[in-house]
């Protein structure tokens, strides 16, 4: 039992970070039906930026979010204006897959040139610290990562529910045509939301670099996980992404401890497929979307 509880603690803490990464992906899909498969590469790009700021200027990786997230917001806006906005018509979703995949490969290539392909880690002085809570081991960095993710997700959710911009976003999700008729500038909402999605990836990337070693190719594994989370949660649902990410973290940790690490990733996909057979729209998909 002790083992399982310890695994659940580890799983929840990691799931929180994945939720933050997936939030941008699901937000962008909800608003413009664009599947941004560059989300993983953007996370890794941010991890490198944060790593660079830490190793060259000594800026704490968690504080570096304040620099990296706005910078990547601007990048996201630029990407949306240059690459994504021009995609129109019934094939826009499929085309967006290709365009964002090209972006992912481009980011990977540029990072390989500048940082080489060796694995990097952002290692602040407190990286090894951990607490014993009632006999359970709780890593300080993981708690900090989980806490940061939770705060950012709450801020995002407040932005979407309590502000004028958020109302415009939700209106665009529900019915773009009606929203436009009522005076919402759909183009502006889409551009800003894409930037917001990328800045979420940026924040997650800074955190990711502290927990895991990464190299430019790390985004392949990341994006497959993120897409699974978003699909399980229900495409476009922020709450769904959070629940699904936590579920993934916990399922993988328990299976790794109790059965074998070989089955850890696989077991999550079994859950995903079984769930989708029963409920194809995901946990909070379409009809019950709570964005």
């Amino acid at each position: 039992m002790h083992q399982i509880v310890q695994a659940i603690i580890l799983g929840v803490l990691i799931g929180g970070v994945y939720a933050l990464m997936a939030s941008g992906l699901t937000l962008v899909f909800g608003i413009m039906k664009v599947i941004n498969v560059a989300q993983g590469a953007l996370v890794i790009l941010a991890a490198y930026l944060s790593y660079w700021l830490f190793s060259h200027l000594g800026i704490d990786p968690f504080l570096s979010i304040l620099v990296v997230a706005p910078a990547m917001f601007v990048l996201g806006v630029a990407v949306q204006l240059v690459f994504v906005r021009s995609l129109r018509g019934p094939d826009a979703s499929e085309l967006s897959l290709l365009v964002t995949w090209a972006l992912a490969l481009g980011i990977e290539g540029v990072l390989s040139v500048f940082f080489k392909t060796t694995f990097r880690s952002t290692l602040p002085s407190y990286a090894d610290r951990s607490w014993d809570v009632l006999g359970y081991n709780v890593g300080f960095v993981r708690v900090l990562a989980f806490g940061t993710s939770a705060v950012l997700l709450i801020l995002l959710s407040l932005l979407l529910t309590r502000t004028r911009f958020g109302r415009a976003v939700r209106a665009t999700v529900q019915n773009p045509t009606a929203a436009t008729l009522l005076g919402v500038d759909a183009n502006r909402v889409q551009t800003l939301s894409f930037g917001l999605g990328v800045s979420m990836a940026a924040a997650a990337g800074a955190v990711y670099g502290v927990i895991y070693p990464f190299n430019p190719g790390s985004h392949y594994d990341l994006i497959s996980r993120l897409l699974s989370i978003v699909v399980l949660g229900g495409l476009g649902s922020l709450g769904g992404a959070v629940v699904a990410a936590l579920a993934m973290g916990v399922i993988e940790a328990i299976v790794a401890v109790e059965i074998s690490p070989i089955w850890a990733s696989f077991s999550f996909f079994v859950v995903l497929i079984t769930f989708l057979l029963v409920r194809p729209q995901g946990i909070f998909g379409l009809r019950e979307r709570t964005l």
Partner: protein, 404 residues
């Protein structure tokens, strides 16, 4: 009429083949001029970093030996072809070296993947295949008589030295239990499995063993399971990235076993401290085939020549392995006054051969019969600590606590 033409053509073709074969086999013995050595190297593609490191070693050997008048009075001329990290291209390159360029000798490419098919080509033409970087089972399973791997031990046996070291300790210091978390990789988990079987035979109890897939990023749950068994030793078959993650997870979970051995990762002096934190490296063991400070034959001269030629940066062991291939040929030539392939093969199967990789000797299928070096991080530096005749520092056991 037609049948006659066919027969004639067949005869002519056969004759040409025979003539070609005669030229090839006779070339080494009769030719003067430069001593041509054909080498296929991965100068582009996945293995290009290591391929270039091998090239530096080969070139350095050629320059050093040419400065002293060459081999048997003949200047060494390396004919290097890029194989783009592709096994089929490597095999084609060796075919061309032997049949078109009519080289005197060939040296091996980088990695087991490329060495295995290339060794078969060399074998077909009776060429010795002295190779620095193909130490995996695929190279030896064909049981070729012409292969000579210029490292101290085959890759799968590389960690046996750790088991020997543990069993050499007084009984009170030996671990009684061990856990084996290993990566699902042909060059990782089988190495740890061998150590496990050696230790189990000697009575070291296995508390836990598992194999994790390469996409495992989070070592937390695995190390949690390892720690739950309270083993004295953690012995992991690893590549670099997962080794770093294992150590980080152990530190975070405040689990500090008496012995930590990881097959790869800790033996990278540049990367390891930066990945796990410089204060967490002490007491961790790994293995290596070569070290700049090693007292092996000709090593100091090699290191000095390398730095003179390529600057002060760290030396990739692959360069030393390639250099050793050259040393072997030089010694055979000095001993037998010949670089005829048949003679080289027969000679290398007898005796032992001093190189920067240590004193090498091979069994009938080219597996080196020595032992890798056991290395340990002591006071933030990596030292060879066992076998004792090559040790540069006394091993420190048990491992100090993390941060110590």
């Amino acid at each position: 009429m037609t049948r006659n033409v066919v027969r004639l053509a067949a005869l002519a073709g056969g004759g040409a083949l025979l003539a070609a074969a005669l030229t090839v086999s006779g070339s080494a013995a009769t030719k003067a001029g430069p001593l041509k050595i054909g080498i296929s190297l991965s100068l582009s593609g996945d293995f290009s970093d290591s391929g270039k490191a091998a090239q530096r070693g080969y070139k350095l050997w050629a320059n050093v030996v040419n400065a002293k008048g060459g081999v048997l009075g003949r200047k060494v001329q390396l004919i290097v072809q890029d194989d783009t990290s592709s096994p089929t291209q490597a095999a084609t390159n060796y075919q061309n070296f032997i049949t078109k360029d009519k080289v005197d000798l060939v040296f091996g490419p980088f990695s087991t993947l490329l060495s295995a098919p290339s060794a078969a080509v060399a074998n077909r033409y009776g060429y010795a295949f002295i190779e620095p970087a193909g130490g995996g089972p695929a190279v030896f399973k064909e049981k070729l008589h012409n292969v000579f791997f210029t490292q101290p031990a085959p890759v799968l046996q590389s960690a046996d030295v750790f088991a020997k070291f543990l069993l050499s300790l007084p009984k009170s210091q030996r671990p009684k239990t061990a856990a084996y978390p290993s990566l699902d990789d042909p060059f990782a988990s089988p190495i740890a499995d061998r150590v496990r079987s050696l230790l189990e035979k000697a009575g070291v109890k296995t508390t836990y063993k598992t194999i994790y897939p390469s996409e495992t990023t989070d070592m937390g749950p695995i190390i949690q399971k390892v720690a739950a068994g309270h083993p004295d030793a953690v012995i992991g078959g690893t590549q670099n990235n997962d080794a770093f993650a294992q150590v980080k997870a152990m530190v975070q979970q405040k689990f500090s076993p008496k012995f930590v051995f990881l097959t790869n990762g800790p033996n990278d002096p540049a990367e390891f401290p930066s990945k796990v934190g410089a204060k967490n490296v002490n007491g961790i063991f790994a293995t290596g085939d070569w070290f700049p400070e090693a007292k092996s034959p000709g090593n100091a001269a090699f290191v000095a020549a390398y730095h003179k030629a390529y600057g002060a940066g760290a030396i990739d062991p692959t360069s030393a392995e390639a250099y050793a291939a050259g040393q072997v040929v030089q010694d055979v030539a000095a001993k037998t006054h010949s670089v005829d392939n048949k003679k080289v093969i027969a000679t290398l199967h007898t005796g032992s051969w001093p190189t920067v990789e240590g004193v090498l000797r091979w069994n009938s299928i080219g597996e080196p019969q020595g032992s890798d070096l056991l290395v340990e991080w002591i006071n933030g530096k990596l030292y060879p600590v066992y076998p004792s005749n090559v040790a540069l520092h006394k091993p420190v056991v048990p491992k100090p606590a993390w941060g110590g």
